[in-house]
Amino acid sequence: MNDVLYMAWRYVRYHWGKTVVLLASISLILFLPVGLHVVVQQGAEMLTGRAKSTPVLIGPKGSAVDLTMSALYFRHPNPESLPYREVTRVTQTGLAIGIPLHLRYTAGGQRIVGTTLDYFEFRRLNVERGRLMAMLGECVLGAKAARALQADLGAHVLSSPAGAFDVAGSFPLKMPVVGVLEPYGTADDEAVFVDLKTAWVIEGLTHGHMDVTKPEAESGVLAREEGNVVANASVLSYTEITSQNIDSFHFHGDPDTFPVDAVLAVPKDRKSGILLRGRYEEGDTSVQMLVPLRVINELVETMFSVRDYIVMAGVGVGVATFATAALVFMLSIRLRRREIETIRKIGGTRRRLVGILAGEIVLVVAAAISIAAALTFIVSRFGDEMVRVVAG
């Protein structure tokens, strides 16, 4: 047996080019349907898992999938937003708690999630180090975000402008890191959490600046009339919120009209959830209420359909590949006729010859199965990650 395998090994090693091509094609044909099945299965589990834990979602009218993906996975939100009063409205029904999500800004590529402390309770998120944000301007990092930003307790994170054409002048806000969350293997790991009001500060809706009633700001004051003060740009706006300047931060406008991108509605019980959905279905047409699980189930069904088509195509390609491999093998036996005759002449038995030729097939197929298994293992190990990257 050892001699047979040794001879087979020497053959496949010497003809490494042919072996590599066979290995690559067979292992890919084996891996593609299995790997795809694993990825889709894991993706479906991950998507539905997070959707299951999010009973009701409210957002502006538009694509239900976009709203779900942005609220669950912190993808870039729709341009349309909701006024903050929708959060109050949900809570005031007494049927659910409304948790706002503001998702328009990033810090070093990580999404800044403006929300309230209810979000941490709802998702059962705990800090590994430090504490949750307590003061305007503070931030808490997800485990992966902390690594990506190379920031820990005591460090500062700088918000990025919304875009190159952000002429409204949302200044980058320097935010102290007060906590780092435990890793959860969800989108929360990659987020920079701030209080909703801090998100509004980043957006420029809330701001702080030098006290224009003080003499040192006098040079920037253009006019004073009926309690209003008009100042020029020399009046210094704060880009970091500290205990010294926090009192100077104030709203311009009615906070009820300030934007949020989605509202997670957490019903008190199942009946409350049904009643809440009923109210929204009858009422306002400028907002949509949806059940994320239904949206995700539709998405997952589409994923399964696509997977099935790919697997069917893969089976066809697989049959063609194996037929080609069989043809290559048969042709190689014809080309090796003299070698086979020589082995017979010097005393090699038919059984050994068949063993050597079969050994070559076994080695290639076994190696291809091992490669396919290794690839499947890698995919199963990092499948969640891949789906999250693809999901945005």
Binding site: R10, H15, R338
Partner: protein, 222 residues
């Protein structure tokens, strides 16, 4: 050792296609005898060799080799008998391109269940290769060797099992005179040392004179 190593009586053989027939009334080959088989192309020299080696089975007559009636053995027993008792050298060397020199020499031990591969055989193979001047090329592949070197490797493959009989089918047909002499010297020396008969098909008139006798295959039928 018996006086007669190979004895052929009233042998007849015909190919199914082509109509060629070979017949041998009687042929005896003794220990250590060096016999050249001659004759024009297509006269049946290689066929005779294949019959004596048990590769072909005669349609009639007897072939006794080392007191064993070879034609009465089963196909597998003939394979084993050949592996254990005979060494074969071919005109085209017939080395396996994917095995290095050492593994080519050890090939019979790997493909025949009658032989066993072990350290002693490996040492003998290496020693044989050293003796014929290929000691520094044990792990080279046949493709990188000259014609003469390849035939010397093929000779080592035939001798590694310490055969009782050596057959050569025009073993020097593709070699220049210097390599021819080298290869034949190795075969003659082995035959002389071990008393193994050496039966070689050849067209080379210069070479024929060095054998104990030369047999024209056409005359064997008489």
């Amino acid at each position: 050792m018996a006086d007669i190593v190979i004895e052929v009586k009233n042998l007849a053989f015909g190919y199914r296609v082509g109509g060629f027939c070979l017949s041998v009334r009687a042929l005896r080959i003794g220990p250590g005898e060096k016999m050249a088989v001659t004759g024009p192309s297509g006269s049946g020299k290689t066929t005779l060799l294949n019959l004596l080696a048990g590769i072909f089975v005669p349609s009639a007559g007897q072939i006794r080799v080392l007191d064993i009636e070879v034609s009465s053995l089963s196909a597998e027993d003939r394979q084993d008998f050949r592996a254990l008792r005979m060494g074969l050298v071919f005109q085209e060397f017939e080395l396996l391109e994917y095995l290095d020199v050492l593994d080519n020499v050890l090939l019979p031990c790997r493909v025949s269940p009658a032989l066993h591969f072990h350290g002693e055989v490996r040492a003998r193979a290496a020693e044989l290769l050293h003796d014929i001047g290929l000691g520094d090329k044990l792990h080279r592949y046949p493709g990188s060797l000259s014609q003469g070197e390849r035939q010397r490797v093929a000779v080592c493959r035939a001798l590694v099992t310490k055969p009782a009989i050596i057959f050569g089918d025009e073993p020097t047909g593709n070699l220049d005179s210097s390599n021819r002499d080298h290869v034949m010297e190795i075969l003659f020396r082995y035959s002389a040392d071990t008393k193994a008969p050496l039966i070689v098909v050849t067209h080379d008139k210069e070479l024929i004179g060095r054998f104990d006798r030369a047999v024209d295959v056409r005359e064997l039928a008489a």
